[in-house]
Symmetry: C2
Subunit: 424 residues, 2 copies
C-alpha cells in the first residue's frame, strides 16, 4: 500500500507556516508500514489542485489532503475533490447541528459561510471533529483507493487521525502494528547508535528508529504482524534488550511521558519535595517542572537569582565564594543548592549557573560553560558542562541536563539506600 500527502494552503506556499502536518502524516504512514514516495503542497486553486489530485490518484492508494476545509471562500478543497469525483455536495444534518450548537453555546450568531462546513460530498464518510467545525471526510473509490480530507489545524487533524483514521487503516491493512517508545536521556545520539548498532540496522520484522531531541534520544521500536499478540511478541524482547544495554538512561517507555513528568513522578514516589534556584536558565527549569499537572505536591517554590546579590540574599551564597570563584563555578552552585533546600525546606534542589552568551565569556570561562548542582537530601553533586549554540540553545541544554542530573542523583541515592551501601 502507498500513501501520499497533498497539503493545500497558500500560507504554506508563502512560507508563513511550517508544514508540520506533512511530517506527522509521514510518521503515521511509516507506523503502518505504508510506503510514501511523494508529498505535495499546492495553493487554494482549483485547477492546480485538480492536477495534483489526478497525479496522486494515478500513483498512490491512499491520498490524504489537508487544509482548505475552513468556512471562507478561499477554502476550496472539498468542492474541488467533489467535482473531481463528479459528486454533489449535500448538507449533513448531524454536522450542521454540531456547528449550530457551537455558536449557540458561545452566544454568537453563525455566519452564512459556516453552512459550507456542513456540506459533504454525497456518499462520503464523515469523520467527526471534536476540536473544530470542519469534519474529516473519507471517500472510497470502486478501485479500492481512498481519499481522505482532513482540516489543516494540527490539533484537529491529529485528533481525527487517532480517533477515525487509525482504526480504518488497521482494518484496511489487515496488519497490526505495535510500537513502543523508549526514551533515553543523558546519552548522545551517536553513543546510543553505537550501543544499539545491530538493533538499528536490522531490516527485519522489528525496526528501531532513533530521533534526537535536546539531551534526549527517543527510540521507536515497531513491529508488524497478523495480530497484536504476535506484534507485541516481536517488540517486547527488543525493548528489553535496549533497556538492558542502556540501563538507567532509559527514563520511560510511555509514549507521552516527558522527562519533567518522570522527574516529578520519581519525586512523588519517594515522597520528596523539590526546589529550583536558577541563574542563566532564569526560571526555565521551574517552567518545565510546573508544566506537569498536579506538580503542587512536589514543587512549592523556586528562586531566580540572576545577580550576585540575589544569590547572596535569596539563597545565602557567601560573598567570599563569589569573589574567589565567581558566579559561574562549582562552589557557587553548591552553595546555591544547599541554601535553596535549607530556606524552602525542600528535600531536593537543583541549581544552575552558566554563561549563556553571546557576551560575558572569557578564555577561562567561555560562553557555554554551565555548572549544575543537585542536592538530594543533603547529598550534593556538581557537574560542569560545555554547551554549544546560541543563548537559547545553551539555556535549553542547561534545563534538560539539570533535570537529567537531578533524576540521576535521586536514582542513585535510592539505589544505594536499597542495597544498604553508604548509609550512616
Amino acid at each position: 500500500m502507498t500513501a501520499e500527502t497533498i497539503s493545500v494552503g497558500t500560507e504554506i506556499l508563502l512560507g508563513n507556516i511550517v508544514n508540520t502536518n506533512a511530517a506527522y502524516l509521514a510518521a503515521q504512514y511509516a507506523k503502518f508500514g505504508i510506503e510514501s514516495y511523494y508529498q505535495t503542497t499546492v495553493g487554494d486553486n482549483a485547477a492546480r489542485l485538480t492536477e495534483t489530485l489526478k497525479l496522486a490518484a494515478s500513483r498512490s492508494d491512499l491520498v490524504v489532503l489537508t487544509g482548505g476545509l475552513g468556512p471562507t471562500q478561499d477554502d476550496i478543497t472539498k468542492e474541488t475533490v467533489a467535482e473531481y469525483f463528479g459528486k454533489k455536495l449535500v448538507e449533513d444534518r448531524a454536522t450542521m447541528e454540531r456547528i449550530e450548537a457551537f455558536f449557540a453555546k458561545r452566544g454568537k450568531t453563525m455566519a452564512e459561510n459556516n453552512v459550507r462546513q456542513a456540506m459533504i460530498p454525497e456518499g462520503a464518510r464523515i469523520l467527526e471533529n471534536n476540536n473544530g467545525l470542519a469534519p474529516g471526510i473519507l471517500i472510497e473509490t470502486e478501485e479500492g483507493k481512498a481519499f481522505l480530507l482532513l482540516p489543516g489545524p494540527p490539533e484537529e487533524l491529529r485528533a481525527i487521525w487517532e480517533a477515525h483514521v487509525e482504526p480504518y487503516l488497521r482494518e484496511k491493512t489487515g496488519d497490526v502494528i505495535y510500537s513502543s517508545m523508549v526514551k533515553v536521556c543523558g546519552r548522545s545520539e551517536s553513543e546510543v547508535a553505537e550501543l544499539l548498532d545491530d538493533l538499528i540496522v536490522r531490516g527485519g520484522d522489528v525496526t528501531v528508529a532513533p530521533y534526537a531531541k535536546t539531551a534526549e534520544v527517543h527510540l521507536r521500536v515497531t513491529a508488524h504482524a497478523q495480530n497484536e499478540k504476535d506484534a507485541k511478541k516481536l517488540v517486547k524482547p527488543v525493548v528489553k534488550e535496549i533497556k538492558g544495554r542502556l540501563g538507567n538512561s532509559v527514563y520511560t517507555t510511555h509514549e507521552e511521558r516527558t522527562l519533567e513528568e518522570e522527574v516529578v513522578e520519581l519525586l512523588k514516589a519517594n515522597a520528596l519535595t523539590m526546589t529550583t534556584v536558577e541563574s542563566c536558565t532564569g526560571g526555565l527549569i521551574a517552567g518545565r517542572i510546573v508544566n506537569v499537572p498536579g506538580v503542587s505536591e512536589v514543587y512549592k517554590s523556586g528562586y531566580i537569582t540572576y545577580s550576585n546579590k540575589a544569590k547572596r540574599k535569596m539563597v545565602g551564597v557567601k560573598k567570599k565564594t563569589l569573589d574567589k570563584y565567581g558566579a559561574v563555578s562549582a562552589q557557587t552552585v553548591t552553595e546555591m543548592v544547599r541554601g535553596a533546600a535549607a530556606y524552602t525546606k525542600a528535600d531536593v534542589a537543583v541549581a544552575v549557573s552558566g554563561i549563556a552568551g553571546p557576551d560575558g565569556g572569557t578564555d577561562e570561562k567561555p560562553v557555554g560553560l554551565v555548572y549544575i548542582a543537585a542536592n538530594v537530601c543533603g547529598e550534593i553533586t556538581v557537574q560542569e558542562y560545555h554547551f554549544s549554540g546560541n543563548r537559547e540553545k545553551i539555556r535549553e541544554n542547561a534545563v534538560a541536563n539539570a533535570l537529567i542530573l537531578l533524576r540521576g542523583c535521586v536514582l542513585e541515592h535510592y539505589s544505594r539506600d536499597l542495597y544498604g551501601e553508604e548509609q550512616g
Copy 2:
C-alpha cells in the same frame, strides 16, 4: 517568474524531520515577488526524482532542489540532475581543495566518498558553502530557466541563499523588494484585520500580510519597485498609517526584535529594574525575560511561588487574603506584586496566578482564569483573563500577556509623567 521547491530526502517522507527548508524558501520567493504554486517532497530515488524534476521544469522558471548532496551512496540529487540535463560530472578543483583542507584541519583522513562532493555537473556555477562540504550548484538552461541545488542542512542552505542566491535573484528579477515588519501586541488578529481592513485587502504595490502569534500579530509590509528608494517610499507611509491606527499596540518595527527585548529596552530606557513573581507560569516569564542578552542591568531576581505558603513566605501575601479570596484572585496578585517589589527593591514587578488545568477548575474559577498584576513604581494594575487551550497554551498566553500588561503600564506611567497629569 515562478519558482518551486523539490525537497529530496527519505527522512522527510518518513516523518523523521519537519521540512523547514520548504518554508524558508517559500518566504524567500515571496520576498522577491516570485510566485510559487507547488512544493514537492520526493525520496532519494533516481526514477521518482527525475519524474518530479520533469514536471517542475514544465511549469516553473526556477526549480530549487534541496537535500541529497551528502557524501553517501544515498545522496543522488546531483547525479540525477546531471543525467537529466545530459551533463557529465567533473571534479571542481577549488571545491576539492576546500574539502581536503577541512579534513586536514581536523587531523582526519578524508573518506573516499567525500571526493563525490567535489564533482560538479559540467558548466554549472558553484555557490560556495562556508558551513559544510557540499557547495550549492546553479544550472541555467538555454530557455532561461534556472535549476538550483542546495544542501539539506538548514544552516548551510540559508547561508548559501543569502550569500549567492539573493544577489543572483536581485539581478535576475531586476526588482527591488523592500519590506518592513510591524509587530503588534495585545490585540487579536481579527481586531487588527478590522482596523487595517482596507490596507490588508489592497492588492496594489504594497501588501500587508498579518501573521498571528501568541498574543501578538506580526504585519509584513512589502513593496516592489525598480529601486530601493522607490520601494521604501511605498512602504513608509503604510507603516506610518498602521502605527497611527494601532497606536501603542505597535511595539516595534524591527525585524528581529522580540516582545521581551522591547520590555527590557523600555525598562533600561527609564532606568528601571524589574522582578517577577509567578504561580501558574512557574518561571516562564522570567525565562523569557532572561533570554534577552544583557538583561542583568534590569533583571536581578525573581520568585516562583507555586504554593500558598510560598506566596506568604516569599512575598508576604497575607493568610487572610488567601483564605478569603483564594490564590487565584485580584487581591492575591496585588499583594504578590507589592511584596515582590518591596523585597527585591525592584522598581517594577509583575505577578501571575491562574488555573492552568487540566484539573483545579471550578464553576466560579474555571480552567483558564488568570490574574496578572503589574506594579510600576508602586502603582498597581490588575487584569483578569480567560484563556482557552491546554495547560501549555494557557501558560504561554499568560506569559505573553504579563509582558504586554507590564509594557502598557510602564508606557502609561511615563506618558502621564510626560504630560504632568495625575502627578503628586
